[in-house]
Every structure is written in structure tokens, then in C-alpha cells.
């Protein structure tokens, strides 16, 4: 077996193939933002702030029938081992774009015409899978801001490491593994809003990887639910007399 996977199927950080890294989400961590959240996804530490809906500047960007969603994914200079230039890199611009595209299907932007919603994702510490963690936290922050949404968005990656499909790959597995597939998922509506694939997979591996990523998204979703319930309905985590909604499988 490779260095990334032992013969017993234990990964480099001690997890099994279908195990997530520890995830912790806090809601409403910033006083001055309309909505905010903080996520620790393994060693990833990310803060998200949401502002809006508010007036669009420059005004020609405003849309008459819906709100404009603007996302900024940014890694702080100290978030990686070697100091990163704080200017937006090609990678950050790409992740900002795919974050917007992953969140847009979940938002009811038609409810806020001629306005803009700004989402700022600041990566304090990076450890692979930060785009998924960013999308997950941004979705919670948007819900915290009171913006109308069709569903929350939960994101998780799967990939191929040491010849095996595994869930939630970390930085080392991302760099040395064979494939990486970040997926964002709307758990109640059962819709995929983001799917990227870096690497090579056979058709069967692709299906297995996607199903595993979706199962990871469902685990992340339950943590998102718990975080929002803890913030708003601390005494009743699973909701009121009907069990807090959600989908029965």
C-alpha cells in the first residue's frame, strides 16, 4: 500500500475511508455583519460574513428582477505554511466564482430586486477542502442573515487515495492522491449545486465517489442544522412538536 493508506485501510491522519474530519460550526460570531459563521473543518479555520441585501454600487450592476450575489473567497497571508500574497490569486478568483454558483441555486434572490448580497469568506488556516468548508459556512451565514433560501448548502469532497475512494480528503491526500471531487449539495431538495473533479476516475469510481461525497454532505448538513438550532432555539435542538423538519430518507 502507499504511504497515504495503510494495509488496514487507515489513512495518513488516522481516519477510515468513510470518515469525516471533526467539524465544528458556530453561528453569529460577528457583531457588525448581517449574518456570520465560523467553521473548523479538520485544520481548516474559516470565518464568513454576509452583508445585505443592500444598495448596489456601482448602480449599473443592479438587476431589476433579483438580487446580485457577490462572493469573495480569500486566504489570509498566514493561512498557509509559506506567507501568501494577500492579493487575489487565480485560484481564489476561481473559488469565489464556484462558491457563488454553488450558493445561487439555494437562494431566493427574486425576493430582493435591485439589491446586492455580499459574502466574504476569509480562510484563517487552510488544510485542504477549504472551498467545501467555505461553502458550508457561507450557507449557514446566509441563513443567519435571514435571507430567504430554498435549502441550506452542505459541501464535502471525496477522492481517490492509494487506489481507494475515500471521503473528505485533507491537504496531503489532495496533493499526493489520484483524484479530488468537491461536491456541494442541497440536502432537502436532493440537488447537486457544485461538482468538480481534479484527477482521473473510471465510470464506476466516479459514481462511488459522488455517492460518498453526498453522504459526507449529509453528515455536514446535520452539523449545520445543529449549529443553527443551537443559536436560535437552544432549548429545542430538534425543533418543536414536529421534530424540526428535514427530510426522511
Amino acid at each position: 500500500m502507499s504511504r497515504l493508506m495503510s494495509e488496514e485501510g487507515i489513512r495518513i491522519d488516522g481516519r477510515r475511508w468513510n470518515e469525516l474530519r471533526p467539524v465544528r460550526i458556530e453561528v453569529g460570531v460577528l457583531k457588525n455583519a448581517d449574518g456570520s459563521s465560523y467553521i473548523e473543518f479538520g485544520k481548516n479555520k474559516i470565518v464568513v460574513a454576509v452583508y445585505g441585501p443592500k444598495e448596489v454600487h456601482p448602480k449599473h450592476m443592479a438587476l431589476p428582477d433579483r438580487s446580485v450575489l457577490r462572493c469573495r473567497y480569500h486566504m489570509l497571508p498566514f493561512s498557509v505554511e509559506e506567507r501568501k500574497n494577500p492579493a487575489p490569486s487565480r485560484r481564489e478568483i476561481e473559488i469565489s466564482k464556484i462558491t457563488r454558483e454553488a450558493l445561487e441555486p439555494a437562494l431566493i434572490l427574486e425576493d430582493y430586486p435591485r439589491t446586492v448580497i455580499d459574502v466574504f469568506i476569509e480562510v484563517l488556516q487552510s488544510d485542504g477542502g477549504s472551498r467545501c468548508a467555505g461553502i458550508t459556512a457561507a450557507s449557514v451565514a446566509l441563513a443567519d442573515a435571514g435571507i430567504n433560501m430554498r435549502d441550506l448548502v452542505a459541501a464535502c469532497a471525496a477522492g481517490k487515495v492509494g487506489g481507494r475512494i475515500v471521503l473528505d480528503i485533507n491537504d496531503e491526500e489532495d496533493k499526493m492522491g489520484e483524484a479530488d471531487m468537491p461536491v456541494a449539495y442541497l440536502p432537502n431538495l436532493k440537488q447537486v449545486s457544485l461538482l468538480q473533479l481534479d484527477g482521473k476516475l473510471t465510470a464506476d469510481e466516479y459514481r462511488e465517489c459522488l455517492n460518498l461525497a453526498i453522504s459526507g454532505c449529509m453528515q455536514v448538513y446535520s452539523i449545520q442544522r445543529e449549529a443553527l438550532m443551537r443559536k436560535y432555539f437552544a432549548t429545542d435542538k430538534r425543533g418543536g412538536d414536529e421534530g424540526g423538519g428535514g427530510e426522511e430518507e
Binding site: P64, D144, I147, N188, G239, G240, G244, G246
Partner: protein, 185 residues
């Protein structure tokens, strides 16, 4: 009435059972789902269901009363930066526009920096249009445009500076000078 808590996407009812109001949307699968974090209220008599959000988002609507300050004046129009919508603070920095028609000279109604109360008349072409056609609408706070000093009301259309005695014209709200006019949440 029965109440429960929901998050966005949670199933609330089917379209055959209830009609969805605020905070509820209809999905293509025939379900009514919550669109925000909040408390669901079922009205079992009227068969309505709504989700009362825990945070309210303020957007100006036609008929709303807004308070803002004049931040740009042209010969026939004024731009107003909205800071209160129906007496609730708004940090969204919405701009409204007032266009003087006919013989109205906008520069005789306000000066840049004046605090005004207005009513949203329409939302057209992406602009919030406001009107001052009511006695309780108009300037609620202003300073002398010559020396910056305090002014007192002379009549409904004039104020006088207590320091330099300059008289200038304004479209004053009827409660101008009443501190309660500026008291908002």
C-alpha cells in the same frame, strides 16, 4: 394554532393542506417548504401557514415612510440616503430620488445634509421615488446653510438662523423642531 421551529428547506406541509404566506415557498414536488430560520405558524381555520423569521430584512416598499438625509441636489431633483424605514434602522444605504415637477424648485425645499421624512411613491426603473405631498412629510432637521448654526421655524416654508439671522426656505414637516420626530428605534 400550533408552532414549531424550522430551517430553510424544511418540509412544512403539502400544497393541498395549506396556502403558504411569508417565509414559505412552494417546491416543484408539491411541498411547502420553509425559506428562512424561524417559527412556523399554522392557521388551521384559514388554512394558512407562515414562517416568522427571527431577523427581518428591510426593503422599502410603496407606501412606506422613510427618513434619510439629502446627499445630492440638482436643479430639479434630490437624492436621499435612507437611514430609517418605517422607523426601523436600515444600514443597507438605499438611495431614493425626489423629482420636482412643474414650478417646484427643489433647491428651495431642501439643502444638502437636511434630514427629511418622505413617503415611497413608486419604484420605477430601479429607483425609489419618494413624495413630500403631505403635511407630515418634509425636513425634520436642518442647519443654517450660511453659517451652520441652529435654525428655528418661522412658518411652514421658512427657517431662520438664530446666529446670523439668515432666512432660508425649506419644505418643513409639521412636527419640525419636535425632538420626537427624530426619535426612532
Amino acid at each position: 394554532m400550533r408552532v414549531r421551529f424550522t430551517l430553510p428547506g424544511d418540509r412544512i406541509a403539502t400544497i393541498e393542506e395549506f396556502e403558504g404566506l411569508d417565509g414559505v415557498y412552494q417546491h416543484s414536488d408539491g411541498m411547502l417548504r420553509a425559506s428562512r430560520v424561524g417559527k412556523v405558524t399554522y392557521d388551521l381555520k384559514q388554512r394558512y401557514v407562515r414562517v416568522n423569521g427571527l431577523k427581518s430584512i428591510l426593503l422599502p416598499k410603496v407606501g412606506d415612510h422613510v427618513i434619510g438625509f439629502v446627499h445630492m441636489l440638482t436643479s430639479n431633483s434630490a437624492n436621499i440616503r435612507i437611514v430609517y424605514i418605517n422607523e426601523l434602522r436600515s444600514d443597507a444605504r438605499f438611495d431614493a430620488i425626489y423629482i420636482g415637477r412643474g414650478k417646484i424648485k427643489v433647491q428651495n425645499m431642501f439643502r444638502v445634509g437636511d434630514m427629511v421624512r418622505a413617503k415611497v411613491a413608486s419604484i420605477l426603473n430601479g429607483y425609489i421615488h419618494v413624495t413630500f405631498r403631505d403635511s407630515n412629510l418634509g425636513v425634520i432637521y436642518t442647519r443654517c446653510n450660511q453659517c451652520g448654526g441652529e435654525v428655528v421655524r418661522l412658518n411652514a416654508e421658512e427657517v431662520k438662523c438664530v446666529e446670523c439671522n439668515a432666512v432660508s426656505s425649506r419644505k418643513l414637516a409639521e412636527d419640525y423642531g419636535n425632538v420626537n420626530a427624530l426619535r426612532c428605534s
